[in-house]
């Protein structure tokens, strides 16, 4: 019997020929990650284990990104715990204000993750790196502490479900719409404890940025990880970035899947997830019209160059609606710089957007755009839970950058088609 992509990577890191779903395995990790919320708790636990140094200073990366630049005194103290530890441990890769970015945009860009890797991070969206053909998953602070000490983590081998996407993307449809549509179909626990393996000709044509967006939201379907096959698009992304050797795994043709889903993407229009769950999705034709106070374009889901490009292509020569606050947050300093060079930032500012240094900021209701009671935001982020972006009686709608940009102009949830924009596909 064959193995899935995830089973192969877990087997290789457990030093075994093969693994079966349900089996508990102890795996070697290639990289461990923490941030300014989860690392301080982990550092405290680490001190109780009885080892002085992390298992490998090249393979522990701590990124202050959630409440950074420090939003208040308490956050400053927390971030300082992370900074002091990183300095004391002499960690090889150090990122901070001025060089940092949102962790899940930053690590692939910095060449710290590659195909076939096994990565754990004390952040649920660590599953993002599945876009590169890595097994990566979120854990808690205690798991992070143990992994920093030993370089190992225990896992229950998940079952895998396969998601195949056929056909050619509709205009203004990107990875965000495919994953929102998928979560709408299977629900927020539709892939609970499972691995989501993505494939199909629509995926093969998808840009790297759109793949990151899809893998990022695997957790929103309850999955342990989401993973993509490695192809030329992956290889060209890592070519000038990856600092380590890597191994490409492919699923066996006779691998066993818990479920197989087939989607015809020609039937998928841009999606919007209504409050308060990512599974409450509607096509834009049924979603248009909801009046909004704020639009956020950013986060580890959609804060990459492609996202900013799409937004700028819609906002060029237009103005943000007077009743809407448009906040744009490039995912990393490099994305910010690239967008600046391409003229994207100028277009956004001319349109009336506020552009910020990289931070998670409003995505988790931290800072830089908190909602008041009764306010509504449309965001390119990944969660629209109660109170996620501020007051428990505020609302968050999730969509891709095209819908976000068009909505910021019209002051209500809208498609770029309403602005008379040419129906061009945003990717490939």
């Amino acid at each position: 019997m064959g193995m899935t992509l995830t089973e192969k990577i877990l087997a290789a890191h457990a030093g075994k020929e093969r693994v079966e779903p349900g089996e508990l395995v102890n795996c070697r990790v290639d990289l461990v990650l923490g941030n300014d919320i989860t690392a301080p708790v982990a550092i405290e636990e680490f001190s109780k284990i009885g080892v002085k140094e992390v298992f490998d200073r090249d393979r522990v990366v701590l990124v202050p990104d959630h409440f950074v630049p420090n939003k208040d005194i308490k956050s400053a103290e927390q971030a300082k715990v992370l900074r002091d530890f990183a300095r004391a441990q002499n960690l090889t890769y150090r990122f901070d204000v001025g060089t940092m970015g949102i962790e899940h945009c930053l690590l692939p860009e910095a060449g710290l993750v590659g195909p076939g890797d096994l990565v754990v991070g004390a952040d649920s969206h660590t599953c993002t790196y599945g876009a590169l053909g890595a097994f990566s998953t979120g854990v808690g602070s205690t798991d992070l502490a143990a992994a920093m000490a030993t370089g190992e983590v225990w896992f229950k081998v998940p079952q895998t479900s396969k998601f195949t996407y056929h056909g050619k993307l509709q205009p203004w449809v990107s990875g965000k719409d495919l994953i929102l549509y998928t979560i709408g179909e299977i629900g927020v626990d539709g892939a609970l404890y499972q691995s989501m393996e993505f494939s199909g000709e629509a995926i093969a044509r998808l840009s790297m940025d759109s793949r990151f967006t899809m893998a990022n939201m695997a957790i929103e379907a309850g999955a342990k990880n989401g993973i993509f096959p490695v192809d030329e698009i992956t290889e060209s992304y890592i070519a000038h970035r990856l600092k380590r050797s890597y191994k490409v795994y492919r699923p066996d043709p006779d691998a066993t899947y818990a479920a197989e889903y087939d989607f015809n993407v020609e039937e998928i229009e841009p999606q919007v997830a209504f409050p308060h769950l990512p599974e409450n999705t509607k096509g834009i034709s049924e979603a248009a019209g909801v009046v909004i106070d704020q639009v956020v374009i950013g986060s580890c889901t959609n804060g990459r160059l492609e996202d900013l490009r799409v937004a700028a292509s819609i906002l060029k020569g237009r103005k943000v609606h007077p009743e809407v606050r448009l906040i744009v947050i490039p995912g990393t300093q490099q994305i910010y710089l690239d967008a600046l060079k391409e003229g994207i930032i100028e277009v956004l500012i001319q349109a009336g957007a506020a552009v910020s240094t990289p931070t998670c900021g409003p995505c988790l209701g931290g800072h830089m755009g908190i909602l008041a009671k009764g306010e509504r935001a449309l965001a390119t982020t990944n969660r629209n839970f109660v109170g996620r972006m501020g007051h428990p009686e505020s609302e968050v709608y999730l969509a891709g950058p095209a819908i976000a940009a068009a909505s910021s102009v019209l002051g209500r949830i809208a498609s770029p088609v309403e602005l008379g924009l040419k129906e061009v596909s945003t990717v490939a």
Binding site: I37, V41, I49, K71, G140, A146, G366, F385, P392
Partner: protein
């Protein structure tokens, strides 16, 4: 170990943002987390909950972020155990790692009502309704996890592994 407590009920998909909102994550102080535990689902919960109370919730409890502050907040608020049909996987790991007992039992989660008194035998996974005497059997933990729990959580387990003593 046997726990007996009063039940608070919650619905499906109680996410970690609702268990402890990010606006309080600028501190990991347990008292601070407890003071705001589940307040976005029920503003009075932090003042109503008492040590030893048990939460019985719907499916996918603890979905969302990896914040260990969520099980920490519940534990600090005095919640002795959480029973649900299913848990989100990171929450499940975190709860085991920090020693917050959680049990998967769809039938118990469906039948038990708010305010009921129940007892839970953590060794056997048996849940008993005090007034009616009805019992339910939760899924037992795999032996590796029992070992983790027995060692006193992941940190104690790891300490023993790397230093050779507890």
């Amino acid at each position: 170990m046997k726990l007996t407590g009063r039940v608070w009920k919650f619905g499906d998909n109680i996410d970690t943002d609702v268990i402890i909102p990010a606006r309080y994550l600028n501190s990991a102080d347990p008292a601070n987390l407890a003071a705001h535990c589940l307040e976005d689902a029920d503003p009075d919960f932090p003042s109503k909950v008492q040590a030893g109370d048990i939460i019985v919730a719907g499916k996918n409890f603890g979905c969302g972020s990896s914040r260990e502050h969520a099980p920490l907040a519940l534990k600090a608020a005095g919640v002795a155990c959480v029973i649900a049909p299913t848990f989100a996987r990171i929450f499940y790991r975190n709860a085991i790692n920090i020693g917050l007992p959680i049990l998967e039992c769809p039938e118990a989660a469906r039948t038990i009502q708010e305010g009921d008194k129940i007892s839970v035998d953590l060794e056997t996974g048996t849940i008993t309704h005090t007034a009616t005497g009805s019992t339910w059997q939760a899924k037992p933990f795999p032996s590796f996890m029992q070992e983790l729990i027995g060692a006193g959580g992941l940190i104690a387990y790891t300490r023993k592994k790397v230093t050779g003593h507890a």
